[in-house]
């Protein structure tokens, strides 16, 4: 058994709705994801998969239980430490790409590197290398509104990769793409997993997208139902 990159023990997450109503989104969840795995997280809307993804990505903290990702107990980290941890360990890919509209593709990819001590020339070189890796170096100077959806998502993947994160967290990465573009993006993620050993956790509604993963997890009502 490979070393676990993600380990959840008895994790619960509840939100308070209004003044008194408490909503349990996750309850007593246990999960281990080995390093280098490509996991597709599936389930109906409201099943808690995005909440789980946010907890693994360090965007949110559990109400109870332990979360260890890349060797760090995230439930124990404060806001600042969690930000630094995300910068060092996680690459995020969103459904709607979430690129900065006023920056070129290359500048968008450089964003995570602004938090490092790399000099400007090295940042540019690394951004260009990441764009080359995702096959879109020729669009480096283009702004997001000059790119197709598939191209924009590739830029977003390049941004997620550029700081060489331990884990890639993808929330519906193909949800806004046509089939062809979606397949290209999924092939890219698959290649990053197989060729570069990147651990990937992907939330998706799309069974075809899930087939690209090496493992599928299903959630319903805040619990894992099948592996």
């Amino acid at each position: 058994m490979k070393e676990a990159i993600v380990s959840l023990r008895n994790v619960g997450k509840r939100y308070t709705r209004g003044k008194q109503q408490s909503v349990h989104v996750l309850d007593g969840l246990n999960l281990d994801i080995p390093k280098g795995d490509f996991v597709a997280l599936m389930g109906p809307s409201g099943s808690g998969k995005t909440t789980l993804l946010n907890l693994i990505g360090g965007l949110d903290k559990p109400s109870s239980g332990e979360i260890t990702v890349a060797g760090e107990r995230l439930d124990r980290l404060g806001g600042g430490a969690l930000s630094r941890w995300r910068a060092n360990h996680v690459g995020f890919v969103f459904q709607f790409y979430n690129l900065m509209p006023m920056l070129s593709a290359q500048r968008n990819v450089e964003l995570p590197l602004l938090l490092t001590k790399l000099p400007a020339a090295k940042r540019r070189a690394n951004a260009l290398a990441a764009l080359t890796l995702v096959g879109i170096a020729d669009r480096a100077k283009h702004k997001p509104n000059e790119l197709s959806g598939g191209q924009a998502q590739r830029v977003a993947i390049a941004r997620a990769l550029v700081a060489d994160p331990t884990i890639l967290v993808c929330d519906e990465p193909t949800g806004d793409l046509d089939r062809k573009s979606a397949d290209e993006v999924l092939h890219l993620l698959q290649r990053l997993n197989r060729d570069y050993g990147k651990s990937i956790i992907m939330v998706t509604h799309d069974p075809k997208a899930a087939e690209f993963a090496s493992r599928q997890l299903h959630m319903d009502k805040g619990a894992l139902t099948a592996a």
Binding site: F92, M102, R107, L111
Partner: protein, 388 residues
């Protein structure tokens, strides 16, 4: 510096809005710069130079509008340390129509140029003509140019105060020479000066004979100005003509303050302008941040901590206000040569510019407080979810 491209790009995200906001800041700081130049003129009579440090002015203790007696001259002359004394009067004149103000002063030619021996260059021949011509006047070169006068012309001035024995307010003079101030500052201050003989004035006027508006003393040691002022005033204490003596610069300041506290008025105007601008720019910044909530959430997701997010928003505000202040103050500096032609003594000193930049920084910090706080407080999950 590595964040500069991000801040710069963010600033120009909505070009039209940024340009209009920038324009309002530019106008505010242009106004600031222009009013500072006026404030300078009122707070630095004499152009800020040190000339006149060795001169005192003696006026009536109770009001500058009340006269002193020429007979007091002898006592003032007797004060040790006073090297020369002259006397002058208000004439209150204009040429042809009231808008053509002329700073006409009746003077005693001998003593006047002992007190003001450093200020003017006058051709010997013209000086001689002035001394020997009862109706002669010395006129500044700027005034000659303004009214198209020349040496040899006979010019009438209308006094708003002094009637002649025949009841006329019109006095006729012969231009015999040109006053050439030695420095550009003096040329600016003395642009409308018109000197004529006190003797002719005193003989010709219908009332107030033997009176003067003020005395001016030249002293040997400027450091003794306060002590000498006290000595002169002590001479006339409890007399019918009590005096108030002060250094020439203090006199000029006090005179200007009679118009009102110009500095306060100017700063009150600026206060109102900046207060309005505060809401305008603050609202723009707030709107800008509100529109970028998802983008800020993405930056936070990527690992940008709260101090960095705070720095980005404040940096954007500093950049906007800094550029606005720089352009506004730059324009006011560029307008300075033109202003100097319109108003005497205006200038834009580093003392005037530095507060401008400090205000810009303070302003930027104030307008960015609320947007920055909102950016820092935003919840990543909620902000990202708001896109769906």
């Amino acid at each position: 510096m590595k964040f500069f491209p991000l801040v710069w790009a963010t600033l120009w995200r909505k070009k039209t809005r940024t340009i209009f906001t920038l324009l309002s800041i530019v106008v505010a700081f242009l106004l600031f710069g222009l009013l500072e130049t006026v404030d300078y003129a009122f707070s630095h009579p004499g152009g800020g130079s040190n000339s006149g440090a060795d001169r005192l002015i003696t006026i009536n203790k109770y009001s500058i509008t009340l006269p002193l007696q020429l007979a007091q001259l002898g006592d003032i002359k007797s004060v040790p340390g006073v090297t020369a004394v002259t006397w002058l009067s208000w004439f209150g004149a204009y040429y042809q129509e009231p808008k053509n103000f002329v700073f006409a002063e009746p003077i005693d030619s001998d003593s006047y140029f002992k007190v003001y021996n450093d200020d003017y260059v006058i051709a010997d021949q013209q000086m001689q003509a002035f001394r020997t011509t009862r109706t002669g006047v010395l006129v500044s070169a700027a005034l000659l140019q303004k009214f198209g006068w020349k040496v040899g012309d006979k010019v009438p001035l209308h006094s708003t105060i002094w009637t002649q024995k025949d009841g006329s307010l019109d006095w006729t003079f012969d231009i015999v020479g040109v006053l050439n101030p030695k420095t550009p500052e003096l040329a600016s201050q003395q642009a409308t000066i018109f000197l004529f003989h006190y003797e002719m004035f005193d003989e010709g006027r219908n009332f107030g004979k033997g009176t003067v508006a003020w005395f001016e003393e030249r002293i040997a040691d400027p450091a003794q100005s306060a002590a000498l002022s006290n000595k002169i005033d002590a001479l006339f204490a409890n007399s019918a003509n009590e005096t108030k003596t002060q250094p020439a610069k203090d006199f000029a300041l006090a005179f200007l303050k009679q118009l009102g506290d110009i500095g306060f008025i100017l700063h009150a105007i600026l206060g109102a302008v900046f207060f309005t601008l505060l809401f305008l720019t603050g609202n723009t910044m707030m709107q800008s941040v509100r529109e970028r909530i998802p983008e800020l959430a993405v930056l936070k997701t990527l690992g940008f901590g709260n101090p960095t997010i705070l720095g980005l928003v404040v940096g954007e505000s500093l950049l906007l206000c800094g550029i606005g202040a720089l352009i506004g103050l730059g324009f006011s500096y560029a307008a300075l040569p033109g202003l100097k032609k319109l108003l005497q003594g205006v200038d834009l000193s580093p003392d005037g510019v530095t507060p401008g930049f400090l205000i810009a920084v303070l302003f930027a910090l104030i307008v960015s407080i609320l947007p920055a706080a909102r950016a820092v407080r935003l919840n990543i999950i909620d902000a990202l979810a708001s896109q769906h």
